[in-house]
């Protein structure tokens, strides 16, 4: 790994450790309490109106699959990994550019594009690893607590989580590298994440709005119900492609503009 990639990881290490701990704790707590929450889950299941359950992609809280869907893969899990992806990505270019540190990073004998690519690579690897944590932990914990979901389905849903994170990573990188503004990158990508999450929920409850879900990255991640149906490579590729386009735009735009004005 190049000195710049290693430097990026070193500068991000506190944030990386924090997010890893948070994501791991969340996944472990939710997954391992499946058994003891059964009663409560039944209550929740009865209490939540059908529309709300559709909105939150909850089918039935009582089965292992439904429980995982409602907890780790439904709302908080994707929220956590997408937040981690956006916040870490904003540290690649906009943050050092705003605090001035980017000048001493850019004295590296690298072309602009190589510089941007290496910053992106470092954070891509970090985010991929963070987004893979829930999958690894669910795989390890699920059999012991009576969640009987096939490992292949857990892996495919978890791969979707990674692809989702990378999609927003690419978009955040594109906006951040093109503008050099932390606020813009956080605002635009954050709003996009929240907006498309809501859009997917709305598309399920509004008559004639079903097509809207195709505009939401969250649909490509969970709309295919991977915990029941397994792999949907085309959907995952679509997420990866969206991220790749964002990243490529960012690299090209970064190569063309003034830095640190």
């Amino acid at each position: 790994m190049s000195p710049l990639v290693r430097k990026t990881w070193r500068d991000d290490r506190r944030a990386i450790i924090g997010w890893a701990a948070g994501i791991a704790a969340f996944t472990t707590v939710y997954t391992s309490f499946y058994a003891s929450f059964q009663g409560a889950a039944q209550l929740k299941d009865d209490a939540l109106p059908e529309g709300m359950k559709n909105f939150l992609s909850i089918q039935d809280m009582t089965s292992g699959t439904g429980y995982l869907q409602a907890t780790v893969y439904g709302l908080v899990g994707p929220l956590l990994v997408v937040m981690a992806a956006i916040i870490l990505t904003v540290r690649t270019i906009p943050r050092p550019e705003e605090d001035g540190g980017i000048e001493l990073l850019m004295v590296n004998p690298l072309s602009r594009r190589a510089f941007a690519t290496q910053r992106l690579t470092a954070t891509f690897i970090t985010v991929t690893a963070l987004a893979a944590i829930p999958g690894v932990l669910v795989l390890a914990i699920a059999p012991g607590v009576g969640i009987d979901v096939p490992a292949a389905n857990i892996i495919s849903a978890s791969a979707g989580l990674v692809a989702l994170a990378c999609c927003f990573l690419g978009i955040a990188f594109g906006v951040g590298a093109a503008t050099g503004r932390r606020g813009i990158a956080l605002g635009v990508t954050g709003a996009l994440a929240v907006g498309t999450y809501i859009l997917r929920g709305v598309s399920g409850i509004v008559d004639g709005g079903a097509w809207l879900r195709w505009l939401s990255p969250f649909h490509y991640f969970i709309g295919t119900d991977p915990l029941h149906t397994g792999w949907h490579p085309a959907h995952l590729l679509a997420l990866a492609a969206a991220g790749a386009v964002g990243a490529a735009v960012g690299i090209v735009m970064f190569d063309r503009r003034d830095v640190g004005v």
Partner: protein, 311 residues
Amino acid sequence: MLWHMTDDIAVRAEDLTKFYGTRRGIEGLDLEVRAGEVMGFLGPNCAGKTTTIRLLLDFLRPTCGHATVLGMDPRRDKATLHRHIGYLPGELAFPGRERAADLLRFFADSRSGVAWQTVTGLAERLELDLSRPIHTLSKGNKQKVGLVQAFMHSPALLILDEPTSGLDPLMQQEFLALVREARAAGQTVFMSSHVLAEVQQTADRVAIVRDGRLAAVERVESLGRRAVRTVEIHFDGPVEVAEFAALPGVTDVTVSGPVLRCTVDGRLDPLIKAAARHEVVDLLSTEPDLEETFLSFYYHSEGAGDVPAGT
């Protein structure tokens, strides 16, 4: 040779211009820095010094005009070029919160082929403690980290933006020694400053910018002769204004009792000879101030009505 230069020019700017929207950074800069020389780049704050430097490093892209650095194009050849450039930013901000040693190791690794002894040697000369985390260092010590980073790979061209800011006088001398050694080793130094004195000690030539335009390029000696000093002489008794007002180069003469104040442009000799006719108790001569040098220079070149505005 490290680079493919067609002549002995290390930096060449041709009509180099940068506007930030409508705000002028630098306009129509034509400048040549010869290989192996130390060139001071002088001007008041916001005159366009940092803009020029950042154009040479490809952090900024010119609105029009062109710069050639070590015979290469700053944008197209950035990767190669930055191997041979040592850069000290004017506003130092360090990425990360690691120890000084770890940060410098990153610079050494990314440039490859930097002996760690060179780094520790520089740190010792500048009395810099490498084991401290960067963010706990004082401004002066941060400046030293920046200097070590710029000098560590013995680059062909050193581009230093306000290099002595934050350094105490002793360290300023050590820094000037580093610059002299760099020149002796054939390296080119392009350093900006708003203090004439620090540039005067080492530079061969100075380029003066003002309001985004190049005002002059001069050999340091000729700039010294132009220098304006403020002189204050205390006599043991009252003196007459008329006795001094007509002396060549002497202006703004005021006398209050035994104290004479005046501004001297150029040689001090006539004033000293005139003062020697009286009993002199004390004599104060203020270092030629760059602002005043500028003022006198601009008055000469553009007329008395044109007072430089600090934009």
